[in-house]
């Protein structure tokens, strides 16, 4: 039987969605991104569509932070991007961030505390164009 993990976080921010900025997708930045990625898909190099992975390069402000207190190190453990509508160069997207959940799991290598955050991208009409869920893990390494 494993002991219940002891960790702290701010529960009041869980599920609260907050606007974290507005960014216009610039043609020049997308072109440089395509060059760096070796992109050859004409959708992105000629037809003005934005590569889905580019959305994750858009840096909005940080969202609600549950301030998880556990362990001495953290890492990025997972990413899920759901694409609802194509995005084109010149569009202005607004980011809405929320901390979805915090939970612990204990296995042979000890306890890890997981934090799931969601960023929702909305277009000029307020329509959702994508969701990006990020899974961060905190754990104790060494003493």
């Amino acid at each position: 039987m494993s002991e219940e993990a002891v960790f702290e976080y701010d529960e009041s921010v869980i599920g609260v969605e907050e606007e974290v900025g507005t960014i216009t997708v610039e043609a020049e930045t997308v072109a440089r991104y395509c060059e760096l990625m070796g992109e050859t898909n004409p959708l992105y190099t000629e037809q003005g569509f934005v590569p889905p992975s580019y959305l994750q390069r858009m840096r909005f402000r940080g969202g609600p932070d549950p301030k998880v207190k556990f362990g001495n190190t953290g890492f990025h453990a997972g990413s899920r991007m759901e694409l609802l509508k194509p995005v084109k160069v010149g569009q202005t997207l607004t980011g809405w961030a929320q901390a979805k959940e915090v939970y612990a799991k204990t296995g042979r290598s000890g306890t890890m505390v997981f934090q799931v955050s969601r960023l929702t991208y909305r277009d000029e009409n307020g329509d959702e164009v994508a969701h990006s869920d990020q899974l961060m893990v905190r754990r104790q390494v060494g003493e």
Binding site: T29, T40, S53, H76, G78, S79, E82
Partner: protein, 155 residues
């Protein structure tokens, strides 16, 4: 194993369970700096995001227990996503990409960027395809592994 060309359309009617496709990628310092520089521009400020040198400084990476600087997870994820968008071509679309980061990708790792068809479902005008996707290094490890669901056009 088939290589991918985004200008050659993949059609739902032509694929089968177990079909595999791949690309190759060896991330180096120049690419990582380019990726981080792009981020810096977007932020209006330069430099890496962590401040501890894990992505660009061999000594900083060693202090964190890595034998070499590591590649930003989002960069690796972008390469894996690109494999999927290359495979669906101009006539398909991506519903989602879901990836776990299992271990770090190191600078100069010789990576295979691979996809495998695991499920298909016919639809009107398009077909839904589920893929396993992963990066595999020369040590046989899969530092990134996940799934994607895409729509492919019918002939």
């Amino acid at each position: 194993m088939k290589t991918v060309d985004p200008t050659t359309q993949t059609y739902f009617d032509d694929i089968d369970l177990g079909d595999e496709f791949e690309d190759e990628w060896t991330p180096d310092m120049e690419q990582v700096l380019g990726y981080l520089g792009l981020e810096g521009d977007a932020l209006g400020e330069g430099g890496g995001p962590t401040g501890d040198g894990r992505f660009t400084d061999p000594e900083g990476a060693r202090k964190l227990g890595f034998p070499k600087p590591i590649v930003p997870g989002a960069f690796s994820l972008s390469k894996l996503t690109k494999l999927v968008t290359d495979w669906v071509g101009t006539g398909g679309s991506v519903d989602f990409v879901d990836v776990n980061f299992r271990r770090p990708v190191l600078h100069d790792d010789a990576l295979k960027v691979q996809g495998l068809v695991t499920d298909t479902e016919e639809g009107d005008g398009a077909g839904t395809v589920k893929l396993d996707i992963y990066l595999e290094n020369e040590r046989g490890e899969r530092p990134l592994q996940g799934t994607a669901v895409v729509q492919l056009p019918r002939r």
